[in-house]
Symmetry: C2
Subunit: 225 residues, 2 copies
């Protein structure tokens, strides 16, 4: 299509603006001492369930808050609020990803200094969120055992931009004949050395190790950008 090169150019400008704002956000997070984790995955991989359980476990130790993006509904916000943590919904309309300006606006009114952790749940989409830096310290990509072991190979960009991978719904691994070695090997081939965690938010499997990993990552982060 003829208009495509112009579209690419406009997108590049948007990405540049996004990167500038994301850098500002990253500096704000660090100054405030809040460790920020974003979650990306396809729809239905269990992001919200996993995050709900994470908020519940962390809240016993540290002050924590969450932002959650969706095209429509406040369902996830209501689910996450059951943890008792402050939660804000970002409704994107038809936009397929969060960007730094949405996060910036949603944070208005919150005092970041009061928080130890901030979680940002992206719109369920294994493609578009890859390109948008949100200033997060850790980008987590989730992959459920029901989705198929080949997803890292088929959506390499988003797996490449992630700092760690979480395999979710491990309680269903047998029912779906999940090939654990294939999944791990596909993750490692796309993003060599990526840290992989295996969890079930339903039966609690791997959740303690995940919380330990988070605390260690927060401790290890340099205070300034």
């Amino acid at each position: 299509m003829n208009a495509e090169p112009r579209l690419v150019e406009v997108r590049k400008n948007i990405l540049k603006q996004n990167d500038l704002l994301a850098r500002e956000l990253r500096q704000r997070y660090r100054r405030a001492g809040v460790y920020t984790v974003s979650l990306v995955s396809s729809p239905g991989s269990g992001k919200t369930r996993f995050l709900e359980e994470t908020l519940r476990l962390i809240r016993a130790q540290h002050p924590v808050a969450a932002l959650v993006g969706d095209l429509a509904t406040e369902n996830d916000c209501q689910r996450l609020a059951r943890s008792g943590a402050p939660v804000k919904q970002i409704v994107t309309g038809t936009v397929c990803h969060l960007d730094a300006s949405m996060v910036d606006r949603a944070l208005a009114g919150w005092t970041l200094d009061d928080l130890a952790f901030l979680f940002i749940e992206n719109v369920g989409n294994l493609v578009c969120p890859a390109s948008y830096d949100l200033g997060e310290d850790l980008r987590l990509v989730l992959l459920s055992v029901t989705e198929g072991e080949d997803k890292p190979l088929k959506y390499p960009t988003i797996f490449n931009t992630a700092d760690a991978a979480v395999i979710t719904k491990m309680d269903l691994a047998d029912a779906v004949e999940f090939d654990r070695q294939a999944a791990i090997s596909n993750l490692q081939s796309v993003r060599p050395g990526i840290r992989i965690l295996e969890v079930s938010a339903k039966n609690g499997h791997g959740m303690a190790a995940w919380i330990e990993f988070l605390n260690a990552a927060r401790q290890a982060r340099p205070r300034e950008v």
Copy 2:
């Protein structure tokens, strides 16, 4: 972001060009007497498995071919080719959806008159493919029982653009405590009157009814646009 209105304008032009080409494709399909079905869903909902089984069943009755879109790999093409039907992979790179020009280019060299059915499997994405008409006669949205019953509410645009919905992986319904009534009611609230089929490509449940539905839809379609 300042650049956004300009981006919206450029996207509108692209969509307009896409719609013009989609209309041409639709006329070509009709003239050739080929009934065209596109499949959209989130990654890992079972599109390829469902399509592989569909191709196998239809091939016994009619000549059929398929196009399959992915960011990377030819895996799906190889899986679908096991059915014996002609299959072509469209590798989109970082593009999150198929558009009419990709379909147009992929069809080069195929004689549509020889086909009764053409299937187009889109990139796994519940957001972006919604906006791109591919000239298809029937747009099918797939939703697996493992994804959660709330997906139609959270991704309303794509469910709204679909002509029929297929609930996949019904063999796992009990294992994931699938709430069938909630899923159906959510589908109907977003797209009142939508035809809903429930299948398991794994154990064959609902596949005969689906093939019957397809044959009837093809018969009922007017010959010219």
